[in-house]
């Protein structure tokens, strides 16, 4: 009762002074909630998109006929998983031709037979404003892709022969859910009714048919169902997968972005926490007398601490609520900042992202806001216990010995912070690393503070009064040097660190989002076709981007003789697992842009002695070193090559193809080989279809894999993630700045009195201002420097261990960080003492 009433009264009385506290928490929580909401919304839509792409939650497929046993098992599992919809489809490639025998064309097409429930997600859209209804397929109707019309020279209403039977084209497919994007495609899609597929005679023994059962289940059942089915059909020809493939690059990018954003959110909150801590410390200092009075009238320390904790908690929650409001505003304003990307075809897939604050993000934000408020205020509040009521009788400062309670509290709070960090970063390693870095930096800053004091000590004989006194201030016991160094140093550390990481991550994402990255892949170009294909691709009328034909060969490793690895026979190699697989190898005379030699030297020019360069991870995995000999079986020939270099390959930028083994030219040149070519196809959909059609018409055995649609979808999602990262970066800068200001301004309470005394002793306003400028400037520069150096370590660690991206150093960010910190701290130091400088000293002295 007392605690609650007292907390209410104290809040009423001191909310203005704690406003800063309130804002710190609000900004931190706003950041967390905003970024979590954005990433969750985008992820949600992306998940929805992934569902649309496969038209189901779970796909259960087989390349055989369904056996009754398999179906029975599936039915049982589906019932257990509360599947509420399912539909069978049958897919097979087949040859089609016009029924009109005057047209002698035939074309390979991808036939898909669907039931009335198809699709379970997404909608099938048709050209010419037609709306898809399953009835269109009744009585041997067919829907086809526009490419087929061109290829067969037919139009809607004409009949085509599929298998033994004629089907009437009833419409043209614009967009089809459940198309396997990025998959190897033999030809344009044809959709028919599943009831008709058996009659075509195409499904005989030996047919290449994929039967897919599309299932809709509640979200939480997706993973367990897939796992269960995989377990059920471990050794059978039934495969189950969910709409999201866990190991794809998009998933990794999302994880990377979300981990990064979580870390940043945490950083903001920790910055807020530092602010909370310094506010609480000053608050307790200012409350010494009222606390002594409370003790004098019978309040126990525990009760008083409870009063202030309750107050902090209330403010923390209120700040968090304000943060939620801020987040709502920020999230709601996002659509105004996101320009619609590439309105053609798949580019608008994510346009329906519903930007709102998600419940889980809001709950997390509130929880973290309150928790951090508590954690960071409890240690300073423990000081309450040492306030002796006797100070009401005479002035005295209490000195306490080693305080076990405080030590325990610090330990507990530290552990809680580690847990919190780990939770937010979704990794114990990261949580520990971040906290260890934090603690390490704090220790360094304290050390640097001591060092600074002894280094500048000689300057206390300086002639300049302001300089002399600035130095004296720095080295006087019980001053604010340590506090400022700590708070500002950590603040600078986080801001510079986050901005560098942001730069690094954005560069990483933009590399993947690059407009020039290939969206089409040509395979199996025969040697004698190479010149023809080159000429075809170079024809500006085709509209394709520049392409390079890469020669490839297939090789098996059949032996290794090296320092660490000795594999005499192929059996030995096989014992090493995947080393025995068939590798696609190439030869060339230069490194690609995404490669760096990490050991040895890359050759120049051809040689007759076989040499290879090995991808670093593979080399590590199988203990291959420079100088080792590797025996390959290439088309029945044995080639023993010496490893002369190890390469690091940036797989995310593998537009030139990533190769485990690259040979030195000279040995493989004359061996049978073929070419692959990644390229950027024509951007226009029609031109693209024509391009593929013409290419395959001229070079029949060349396969084309088109993954433009999936690329566009990824790009769209990534641009949103990029925006979120930038917004959050700005938030960090803002909240960091705020916290720097706060931390410095907090020391004002100590400065004010001194400044006033100086003034009564005759120091001019200018002199005091210069004195403050020196003092704070030195502190700021030093804190900025240490923080900035710490940030270099931070970016290295986080890039390498948390985000899995190459480490980049942004020197400009770091230098600017140091300079800006110094300027900012000096400016705040002077400005926050502005009232002292301006007003009559007596007012300050009296108020004190």
């Amino acid at each position: 009762m007392f605690v609650i009433r007292m907390a209410v009264r104290e809040t009423r009385a001191s909310w203005r002074r704690l406003l800063f506290f309130f804002i710190c928490i609000a900004v931190g929580v706003a950041a967390i909630v905003t970024l979590r909401s954005v990433i969750q919304s985008v992820r949600e839509v992306f998940g929805q998109e992934a569902r649309n792409l496969v038209a189901a939650d779970v796909l259960i497929s087989t390349t055989r006929n369904w056996t009754p046993e398999a179906r029975a098992t599936i039915e049982r599992r589906l019932a257990a998983a509360n599947a509420d919809a399912r539909t069978d489809t049958v897919e097979t490639p087949t040859m089609v031709r016009p029924q009109d025998t005057a047209k002698t064309k035939t074309r390979m097409a991808e036939l898909r037979a669907i039931g009335p429930e198809f699709p379970l997600y997404g909608t099938m859209t048709l050209e010419d404003g037609q709306t898809y209804r399953h009835e269109m397929l009744k009585d041997r109707g067919a829907l086809v892709r526009p490419e087929l019309l061109t290829a067969l020279d037919v139009k809607v209403g004409d009949a085509i022969v599929i298998g033994q039977l004629p089907f009437t084209i009833r419409g043209v497919i614009a967009n089809e859910p459940g198309r396997r994007v990025g998959d190897f495609s033999l030809g344009p899609r044809i959709m028919i009714d599943i009831a008709d597929v058996e009659t075509t005679g195409l499904l005989a023994a030996g047919s290449r048919v994929r039967r897919v059962l599309l299932v809709r289940v509640p979200e939480r059942e997706v993973r367990p169902l897939v796992r269960q089915l995989r377990d059920d059909f471990k050794n059978q020809f039934v495969n189950a997968r969910s709409f999201r493939s866990d190991d794809d690059e998009i998933g990794r990018d999302f994880d990377r972005a979300e981990n990064y954003l979580s870390l940043v959110g945490l950083v903001i909150v920790i910055l807020g926490g530092i602010a909370v801590s310094s506010v609480t410390r000053v608050f307790v200092l200012q409350k010494i007398r009222p606390i002594a009075v409370l003790k004098c009238v019978g309040a126990r320390s525990g009760q008083i601490i409870a009063v202030y904790l309750l107050q902090v908690l209330t403010l923390g929650l209120a700040g968090s609520l304000l943060g939620l409001l801020l987040a709502r505003g920020a999230v709601a304003s996002i659509p105004y900042f996101v320009p619609p990307i590439d309105t053609s075809s798949a580019g608008t897939l994510l346009s329906e992202v519903n930007y709102g604050v998600t419940w889980s993000a809001a709950a997390q934000g509130l929880g973290i806001g309150a928790l951090v408020s508590l954690l960071f205020s409890i240690v300073p509040l423990l000081q309450v216990r040492f306030i002796k009521p006797s100070l009401l009788l005479r002035d005295e400062t209490s000195t306490a010995g080693f305080d076990w309670t405080r030590a325990v509290a610090v330990t507990l709070v530290g552990a809680a912070l580690v847990a919190l960090t780990a939770w937010q970063a979704a990794s114990w390693t990261v949580g520990l690393a971040v906290c260890a870095g934090f603690a390490g930096l704090a220790v360094i800053l304290v050390f640097v503070g001591r060092l600074l004091v002894s280094v500048v000590a000689p300057l206390s004989n300086a002639r300049s009064f302001p300089l002399r006194h600035a130095v004296l201030h720095l080295s006087r016991p019980g001053n604010q040097t340590r506090v400022i160094l700590l708070a500002v140093g950590l603040g600078a550390f986080f801001i510079v660190g986050v901005r560098s990481l942001q730069g690094s991550l954005l560069e990483e994402l933009s590399m993947q989002m690059s407009e020039d990255s290939p969206d089409m892949f040509l395979m199996d170009i025969q040697r004698e076709q190479a010149d023809g294909v080159r000429a075809f691709l170079a024809d500006p009328a085709r509209g394709a981007g520049p392409a390079k034909l890469i020669p490839v060969l297939r090789a098996r490793v059949t032996g290794v003789e090296g320092r660490e690895t000795q594999l005499e026979s192929f059996e030995d190699v096989r014992a090493r697992g995947s080393l025995a697989r068939e590798y696609t190898v190439t030869y060339r005379d230069q490194l690609e842009a995404n490669e760096t030699v990490v050991e040895g030297r890359f050759w120049s020019g051809p040689a007759t002695e076989p040499e290879i360069s090995v991808e670093q991870d593979l080399a590590e995995r199988f203990n291959l070193n420079v100088g080792d000999l590797v025996r390959f079986d290439l088309l029945g020939r044995t080639i023993i090559a010496r490893i002369t270099s190890l390469r690091e390959v940036d797989w995310r930028d593998s537009r030139a193809g990533g190769f485990m083994f690259v040979f030195r030219p000279g040995v493989l040149d004359q061996l049978p080989q073929w070419y692959i070519a990644p390229l950027k196809g024509p951007p226009d959909v029609q031109a693209r279809a024509r391009f593929q059609h013409d290419l395959v018409a001229r070079f029949g055995n060349v396969s084309v894999i088109d993954f433009r649609d999936i690329l566009l979808t990824i790009r769209d999602a990534m641009s949103k993630v990029t925006l979120a990262i930038s917004v959050v970066g700005a938030l960090v800068l803002f909240s960091g700045g705020l916290i720097l200001i706060g931390a410095v301004a907090m020391t004002k309470f100590q400065r004010v009195y001194e400044a006033a005394v100086f003034k009564t002793l005759g120091a001019s306003t200018g002199t005091i201002a210069r004195m403050l400028l020196f003092e704070y400037g030195v502190l700021g520069a030093l804190a900025g420097l240490v923080g900035s150096l710490g940030a270099v370590a931070l970016t290295w660690g986080v890039s390498r261990f948390a985000l899995d991206i190459p480490w980049r150093v942004f020197a400009g960010e770091h230098l600017a960080g140091v300079a800006l910190t110094a300027i900012l701290v000096a400016a705040i130091g002077v400005l926050s003492s502005y009232d002292v400088l301006r007003h009559k000293p007596l007012m300050t002295l009296r108020a004190e």
Partner: protein, 243 residues
Amino acid sequence: MIALTNVSKTVTSGSQPLTILHPLTVTIPAGTFIAVVGPSGSGKSTLLGLIAGLDAPTSGSVAIDGTDITKLDEDGLAKLRGEKIGFVFQFFHLIPSLTALENVSVPLEIAGAADATDRARGLLQEVGLTGRAHHYPSQLSGGEQQRVALARALANNPPILLADEPTGNLDSANGRHIMDLLQNIHSARRTTLALVTHDRELAALADARLVLRDGHVVEHVGVDVVASRSVAGSGGQAVAGAS
């Protein structure tokens, strides 16, 4: 009843130990109005602090109604102060963030009184400040602040009231008002009242008197004291074990 046995207080100032209060044994019966008199630095506030348990003696024991308070921990002392002791300071020491009424109700709330606000209102009435209940300390005059402090000291109806130069920071009219209130309270409630003052005139109002100088009792009237009586460090017949 307040019983001090061999109580002394030594503090270390710099490297020099400084004895603020030399060993003293004194018993103050319940209901006594005792004045503790002496110049600045004579140890009279220290004595008061020791009685209130605000300070711990270097040696000896302090018993309030038979309880040795030197054996109590901080929380035990706080409880004791809440129940048994009211304190009035020279500088009022009201909590600036609370109104007059709230300042008075705080001890009641700490003690867990259900009708804290009503009782606080009654106490304010008793000191003549009904109209000022919702003012903050900064809006009150010195005399008014001290009356609020007095009301606060009375909140839990303590058997012992300790006043440390309660008029020292007030003009004479206000000072007289406070003294009248203290005397009225003492006689109306049979409260033990210990008044620290350097004003001999005020001290004359008391039933008993204890005069201190440099930590020694140099004069006592109306109470039994066993102490080093010597003036100005002449050693003397210290009864207490320590010297």
